[in-house]
Symmetry: C2
Subunit: 426 residues, 2 copies
């Protein structure tokens, strides 16, 4: 089943707005077996709107249109659809009453202009909007269904869920696209793909084929596995086997197969082991502590963090000896280690993490260029320290450094080697 | 001049990928006077590709197509364009040689399949790709120009810049869309719009009309002003006057008219005044320190930060008396003030910031629900403390708290009242 998603509105065609509605819609449609083949953002211009809708009617089983249902002259989704279907627009008095009531509840009179929102192409079913004035519309033309929804996500999302539950899902009989995501860190994309491709390459020809997408963002690689299956149960069996095969091939660099972020994975390991953590970070400037505390319930294991930007603060807050910084430089493995040890013993936690590096753009030298970061992690009697050379600008270096510190912590907590993959990047 | 942007590739139609290329392309095209009327993401299917391109040829002066220029069978942008223009595909031996050379440089032999990348629709101009194997293509059909570029941003961006400089900009004679962005914080969108609308409403009918878009994200509102002008100089005059008018209407809640982020604005104020800052944060978990240190050169004024997640750490790191927490609770204005004072006196900085609150989802109470945050800022002898009630989940509360702390710091540094807008949110 082929679907098309259209977002209407000139404001969506500026350089400032990303259409994120379509990601949500795609995800929800995929689960009931619709394959999104085209998505478009169209200006508030009736001619262009009509052309795009007409062209989608040629091939799509479902067209979801968001936006352009407001009360102003710019809102012409209703008019465009009526023109394409060649039907008149009628005023629906029930809608007028409902809008008038919404205004009345806030002690306001409905502006005349809002009457436009009650115009309905003849033959359409009205979809209730519990969170706004613009109702949605359901229409059919031949074998194609058209769903018109308002643009604001908090109005659109519950309305789409209702349309799926009541009108679309029953036809899919449980059939749909099902997904799993493996998250990987500490390795290059090409390296991951070289190891994973022989595995997922075989899956394209099996009875229930799996398609695989590799998505590399900084400091993290995601493998998205998708199957079209007759039921959730069938998909679960196929995907569980696939995930296992990939984990076997990729080893301990896979940190999550259930969508959890790396900071949540580390947090869960700390909680399970009833451990607490303290952090002393320099170049990451608080990012590591902030990521760890993004996780709900992290106050169970995060005791404290210190951001030691000045050398004096490294001594004050984590007891790093001045002489150590003079001898090795503030960015060095001994200083990373002293930060981790110092904050851990002062806080009395089980785990200590120390980070020191050069985030740039200034501060680099031939021996220690921008992007040089030393990380130390201590868990009980175990200590690991590594030096990385990261690429990119200031925020990219900060993110990669925090990511590497989290991954080193994960591996040490699991008793796994920090391993070869790190040495390569040194 | 009307433009259409097409992104080709089924992987762009999953729920995981946002098309950000089109934002860059829109921005660059706007500056030379092109108005983007449609953008679409199309699956790797020649039929659909042909249909979309054909439809755009009817109305667009410029069609920019990204992606689908790789070496595999899935890459069919070249084939689709050749079919639409009804011309054959020829092998361009110069391209073959160049690709072969790229592989040879890395000690590799060009795979046969890469020969596909040298297929050129007859009549096309080849656009050099300094960062990859896929060359771009320039074609014309009637009065419409088609520009084909590879999908990866680091290949696409310099190629688009070259096409604009050499082929598109000369025709615009300096004419284009020019923009200014005002950034505002500490106020509700409806409130800002009510004050700004009477101002920008007048601009739509003036000699050089300005269109205004209001963009509200959490803790921040942006007003985007756009003019279509004959030259940068003409636009500068119109926009400078408009910015001044809006600043007069909106007052000190406007923190930036030059694109700077709030943390950079605060950083510049600190640097100008030769002041240093230390931060003691609880519920924001390091986010405030991390945002301040996202700014290049922030080591000039950020001395240190402490993340006091446990009550013990509030005492250890910022000298907050246990009795004070017992009396008022850890989330209270006296504790925020003690955090700011404690970290400031220990660090010996000019400015101290203290934040304590309940980020949720747990930890709330009827008197202090989730989202309650107290912030204190001290600059020399001046102190200001406020309590906010923020909406949203954990990360939203963290962001708004950091944003409010930055804004309080900005206003105090400028000697401006922290004012009424805060009291409203209390």
């Amino acid at each position: 089943m082929k679907a098309c998603i259209l977002a209407i509105g000139s404001e969506m065609l500026t350089p400032f707005r990303v259409d994120t509605n379509s990601l949500f819609i795609t995800d929800r449609l995929n689960t009931i077996g619709y394959d999104v083949r085209l998505k478009a953002v169209v200006a508030d211009e009736i001619g262009e709107l009509v052309r795009v809708i007409e062209s989608a009617l040629d091939w799509a089983d479902l067209i979801v249109i968001t936006g352009g249902l407001g009360p102003t002259e710019d809102d012409m989704t209703r008019d465009a659809v009526a023109r394409v279907l060649n039907v008149p627009l009628d005023v629906d008095e029930t809608i007028v009453d409902r809008i008038r009531e919404r205004f009345a509840k806030r002690g306001m009179t409905m502006p005349e202009i809002n009457q436009r929102q009650a115009m309905v192409p003849r033959g359409a079913d009205v979809l209730a909007n519990p969170n706004g004035t613009a109702p949605g519309l359901w229409l059919e033309k031949g074998s194609t269904a058209l769903v018109l929804l308002p643009g604001p996500p908090r109005e659109m999302k519950p309305m789409l869920e209702a349309v799926i539950a009541l009108r679309l899902a029953p036809g899919s009989h449980g059939r749909g696209l099902f997904r799993r995501v493996l998250k990987i860190t500490g390795r290059a994309e090409s390296d991951v793909d070289a190891q994973a491709q022989p595995v997922y390459g075989r899956w394209t020809t099996q009875a229930v084929p799996i398609s695989t997408t590799i998505l590399a963002v900084l400091g993290q690689i995601e493998l998205h596995l998708t199957v079209q299956a007759a039921s959730q149960a069938e998909a679960d069996i196929v995907l569980a086997a696939a995930v296992q095969e990939l984990q076997a091939a990729l080893g301990t660099s896979v940190y999550s197969v259930d969508g959890r972020a790396l900071e949540a994975v580390v947090g869960d390991l700390l909680r399970e082991r009833k451990l607490t953590v303290a952090i002393a970070e320099s170049c990451t400037g608080g990012l590591l502590a902030s990521r760890l505390t993004d996780v709900p319930g992290s106050s169970d294991y995060v005791d404290r963090g210190v951001v030691c930007y000045s050398n004096q603060s490294k001594t004050d807050l984590a007891g790093v000896p001045e002489a150590l910084m003079r001898e090795h430089g503030a960015v060095s493995e001994p200083v990373a280690q002293a930060l981790a040890e110092g904050i851990r013993s002062r806080a009395g936690t089980n785990v200590g993490i120390g980070i020191t590096g050069i985030a740039g753009p200034g501060g680099g030298s031939p021996e220690k260029p921008v992007g040089t970061v030393s990380v130390a992690v201590i868990v009980g009697a175990d200590m690991r320290v590594r030096t990385f050379q990261f690429i990119g600008g200031r925020e990219m270096v900060k993110f990669q450094a925090a990511q590497s510190a989290l991954n080193m912590t994960r591996l040490l907590l699991l008793g796994l080697p920090g391993g070869r993959e790190w040495a390569e990047r040194k």
